[in-house]
């Protein structure tokens, strides 16, 4: 389960450390027009959301072709289900990012299962998803995230990365990092608190 949705919060007049991207300023009326079947509105929505969603999918899947497939799947779903979008439960980006993450992690797990079946002896290697060689894939730790995430201590960043972008369970993270479960939980807690302080406006 993931919980990306949240109600838009009032701007308290402080500077948000993240730059304001096009996807953050989508007029709710645009979603309504999409829900009403307006193709031009859908095109506009695609222009605003496609890059951040594609980038998020690529970050999880590390495979441009698969990220493209997923983006198509999610945008078709948005087209079909735009009427069910509820602004009170989050921004259009949050809604779409939830879909991307669910489906990307499903694909990632399926791929990892297939890989394990194909070569059980190289299971360790399979734990790191294959990186595309076309230049858009990147190795872990390589200018992956913007300032806030990279400012985290590496142990906290690694635990959150494995959970959020890798879809691993608590126990899987502990096994991967060779740390006790309690240590992993504490790292996640400390890291999320820091990110929360850095990434969300203060009252």
């Amino acid at each position: 389960m993931i919980h990306l949705n949240f109600a838009p919060r009032a701007n308290h007049g402080t500077t948000h450390p993240m730059k304001e991207d096009a996807h953050e300023t989508i007029d709710p009326r645009l979603m309504r027009r999409v829900a009403e079947g307006e193709v031009s509105a859908f095109s506009e929505l695609y222009d605003k959301l496609s890059a951040p969603l594609f980038s998020f999918a690529l970050r999880i899947l590390k495979d441009p072709e698969e990220a493209e497939e997923l983006l198509q799947e999610v945008f078709v779903k948005i087209w079909r289900q735009a009427a069910s979008y509820d602004p009170a439960r989050g921004t259009p980006f949050a809604w779409a990012a939830t879909l991307i993450r669910y489906k990307a992690l499903d694909r990632l797990r399926s791929r990892q299962r297939r890989q394990r079946l194909q070569d059980d002896a190289e299971a360790e290697a399979c734990e790191t998803p294959a990186v595309s060689t076309n230049g858009t894939g990147r190795e872990a730790g390589e200018e992956e995230l913007r300032s806030a995430f990279t400012r985290l201590p590496s142990d906290q960043r690694e635990a959150i990365d494995l959970a959020f972008f890798g879809g691993l369970t608590q126990q899987e993270i502990a096994t991967r990092l060779r740390e006790p479960l309690g240590t992993v939980k504490a790292r996640i807690r400390r890291g999320m608190l820091k990110l929360r302080d850095w990434l969300t406006p203060t009252v």
Partner: protein, 234 residues
């Protein structure tokens, strides 16, 4: 003041790291604690910021064309839904009014109705379906759907259904024997107020709908129904 253990659970919750049962208990705690709810909301905002914080890559231009072609090719395309819904909204109100009167004055007809659709209105292609609760804890929950098979659109009016957990959504299904699996009608909400009409449209054309149902699914909805059916037409 939120204690450290709760902060930890909240962090695990927003990252999807709690097991189902624990997540459900935590979701319940959120609903009863405004301070915790606000804190979790902040963490959820943080995860969205994380999703948006990855280095940006632009998808190939050809992908947009493929997607645009795909949605245009979908039949029935939702295009033109706006005017249709304006009409359908009025039609639905009229049909619901007629249905109420008819149901009141024509109980015998209702009792003899074994089919899913309890009443067919004179408006060609417009049908009214009543969905009944399958929930022991909410026996009075229900819904009325007005389904326009010609326009492949409908309006659902849900009442008495408890709000879905943060990690779940209610999803409408149209059962058409032409398909081996129910066809999704999209996500629907159990509104805080007594009831509210929500438009819906099937994910693919359905022309022989025999039942409608609402199930409780994972957040964001599913391709095939997995969760328990909470409302179903007779």
């Amino acid at each position: 003041m939120i204690d450290e253990a709760t902060i930890e659970r909240a962090s695990l919750y927003v990252l999807g790291l709690l097991e189902d049962g624990e997540a459900a208990r935590f979701a319940t705690a959120i609903r009863s604690d405004p301070e915790l709810a606000e804190f979790v909301e902040d963490l959820q905002r943080t995860t969205v910021a994380l999703a948006a914080s990855v280095p940006q890559h632009t998808p190939p231009a050809a992908l947009k064309q493929r997607i645009m072609n795909r949605i245009r090719a979908e039949q029935p395309a939702p295009a033109g839904r706006s005017r249709a819904f304006e009409y359908l909204g009025w039609a639905a109100a009229l049909v619901l009014l007629c249905a109420s009167a008819a149901l009141y004055h024509d109980r015998a007809r209702l009792q003899s109705a074994n089919a899913a659709f309890v009443l067919r209105d004179n408006l060609s292609g417009v049908e009214i379906v009543r969905l009944r609760s399958q929930l022991a804890q909410s026996p009075s929950a229900g819904a009325v759907a007005v389904w326009d098979s010609q326009r492949q659109q409908g309006v659902l009016d849900i009442s008495g259904l408890p709000p879905a957990r943060a990690d779940q959504d209610y999803q409408l299904w149209l059962i058409d024997p032409a398909y081996s699996n129910p066809v999704s009608g999209g996500l629907v909400r159990a509104l805080a107020e007594a009831s509210g009409r929500q438009p819906f449209a099937p994910a693919k054309p359905v022309h022989g709908v025999t039942k409608l149902a609402v199930s409780l699914e994972r957040h964001g909805g599913v391709e095939k129904a997995e969760g328990p059916m909470v409302l179903i037409s007779q």
